[in-house]
């Protein structure tokens, strides 16, 4: 008895391994970009994301849908849902309500992080909290400006979280409240 192994033709084997890797590394992302259903957004160019709010998209993000109630941006299975500013400026209370929502969510057992403050590029104060599930991450950002608060909800499969989370933070930090003159 003699075990043959899988090394019947090493060059052919190397080509097969390389071809499968190339398919996943290059061809699949190319096809994905081609068939993506949303409207392409111009990276770096401010975009009116809802009434009274502008946001600077990061590369690869698309406009999935837009209505008076909410705007959804998406990329690679992740989404960022932006609600128009609503009256209210107590960020601490609002973020605690968000935390309670995660902790009492009957559909998932989230590990909820500590609410963190942040400041947008325009100087507006905000609070954010992240909830980690076994296969999904959700994050909420609240930004306060002149007596109103904008809410932004992000969600991502865990596999894309590492690469997409910085994009989401950048886009949220770029939010500007448009004043009506």
């Amino acid at each position: 008895m003699k075990r043959p192994g899988l090394a019947t033709h090493p060059v052919r084997g190397a080509v097969i391994v390389a071809a499968i890797a190339v398919f996943y590394a290059l061809i699949l992302p190319f096809v994905s970009d081609t068939v993506a259903g949303g409207t392409k957004l111009e990276p770096g160019v401010p975009f009116p994301v809802s009434a009274g709010l502008e946001m600077v998209p990061q590369p690869g993000w698309e406009l999935e849908s837009k209505s008076e109630i909410l705007t959804t941006l998406s990329r690679d299975g992740a989404s960022l849902v932006v609600l128009p500013p609503a009256p209210g400026e107590d960020l601490e209370k609002a973020i605690e309500t968000t935390v309670d929502g995660f902790e009492n969510d009957p559909r998932n057992d989230w590990q909820v992080g500590r609410p963190e403050p942040f400041t947008t590029s325009a100087g507006d104060q905000g609070r954010t909290v992240v909830a980690y599930g076994t296969t999904e991450v959700q994050q909420t950002w609240l930004i306060s400006h002149g007596g109103s608060t904008a809410s932004i909800f992000g969600s991502s499969p865990d596999s894309g979280w590492s690469s997409l989370s910085p994009d989401m933070d950048e886009m949220v930090a770029s939010v500007v409240f448009m004043t009506e003159d």
Partner: protein
């Protein structure tokens, strides 16, 4: 047991160089995330690296205990780990989200919850299985049996799971201002609630399929069907774990969803081990001279436990030196059977291995 096998480091093998190229490519893809987190939150990132490193080492050591007759090369094991941690993770950085976009574009919006359950297995499982296939194509890696494939599948999955979880942890740290408590929370969530039977389990099943393909003497069609089916099973189990099913039960739901994969792994593992024992016993009984391996010795060699018990018995009755000599003899006998399987009885390698057994028996 026998001498350890040579490693997968085979400069003459084109597959080895593809393996190295893809590992470097994966490192280049992963490096920006590592540097980003390390420069922004060095302490938390190092803490996360320490925790996940210890986790990988501990689980790796447990998996190493599954060795029955083979003496696997630590370098090859490291190579399998690097395939999971760098190649699968590095390619996955773009491939997983791209697959998610594709899946999203074809499934109805009301099933958006299922995107991760469909997309992640379609990307990650074939890439993990590819690592075992690549190793099986490199003669020095010595993947010859179902159990070999299962073992290296476990290691590839462990490498991927640990790296994915480490990156997930550091991203969580970054979004929490460097909080150490987040590191612990995510470590528990991904390492214990959803980690123990997650990626290593799925790729162990597909790896066993690769091992079967190599080992079996059935028709190419049948071996291909079994290997393909093992990949499908791994993908389905992965999809079940990622699915929104039972998500209302929280942690309990995640644990329940992992049970089918664990049961399947135990089933395949027992089958592969039994198969390996039967093959060993058959060769030792039919092809090996009885002066080299007697019937009693053969029975004792079949289990790690019985080999150890035999050495204990000899140590008590004859002393430590005799027990050490017995250990050398057992290693030489196992090596002899493995050599008979790999090179055939009558080969030069077999004659050399038989000489070692005789020398060890005569002291």
């Amino acid at each position: 047991m026998a001498e350890r096998h040579q490693s997968f480091v085979q400069p003459r093998s084109p597959v080895f160089w593809v393996f190295i190229f893809l590992t470097v490519y994966g490192l280049i893809r992963i490096a920006p995330f590592l540097f980003r987190d390390l420069s922004a939150f060095p302490l938390s990132t190092l803490f996360a690296a320490t925790l996940w490193g210890a986790y990988a080492a501990a689980l790796g050591l447990i998996l190493y205990q599954t060795e029955l007759f083979e003496r696997r090369s630590p370098v090859t094991i490291l190579g399998a780990f690097l395939w999971g941690s760098l190649v699968v993770s590095g390619i996955g950085v773009t491939a997983s989200p791209a697959m998610a976009t594709l899946v999203e574009s074809v499934i109805p919006p009301q099933y958006a919850d299922w995107v991760s359950a469909i997309a992640a297995p379609l990307t990650e499982e074939p890439l993990k299985m590819l690592g075992v296939i690549a190793l099986a194509m490199i003669p020095g890696a010595h993947i010859r049996t179902t159990l070999d494939g299962l073992f290296y599948g476990l290691i590839v999955g462990l490498g991927f799971g640990v790296t994915e979880s480490f990156l997930y942890t550091t991203s969580a740290v970054a979004s929490q201002g460097g909080s150490m408590s987040v590191v612990l929370a995510v470590f528990v969530l991904r390492g214990f609630i959803g980690g123990l039977w997650n990626h290593p389990t799925f790729s162990a099943i597909s790896g066993a399929g690769v091992g079967y393909f190599v080992e079996s003497d059935r028709t190419l069609t049948r071996r291909s069907i079994v290997a393909g089916a093992s990949l499908v099973v791994a993908m389905v189990l992965h999809g079940l774990f990622n699915s929104p099913l039972l998500s209302g039960l929280g942690v309990v739901g995640a644990i329940i969803k992992g049970v089918p994969a664990l049961v399947m792994l135990i089933f395949v593992f027992r089958l592969a081990r039994q198969n390996e024992r039967s093959r060993f016993e058959h060769i030792a009984a039919e092809d090996i001279d009885h002066d080299l391996i007697t019937d009693d010795e053969r029975e004792s060699l079949l289990y790690t436990r019985t080999r150890r018990e035999e050495r204990r018995r000899v140590r008590r009755s004859t002393g430590r030196a005799a027990a050490k000599r017995l250990r050398r003899t057992q290693m030489a006998q196992i090596d002899l059977v493995e050599t008979a399987i790999d090179h055939g009885v009558g080969s030069d390698a077999y004659r050399a291995a038989a000489r070692v057994v005789r020398e060890s028996k005569t002291g």
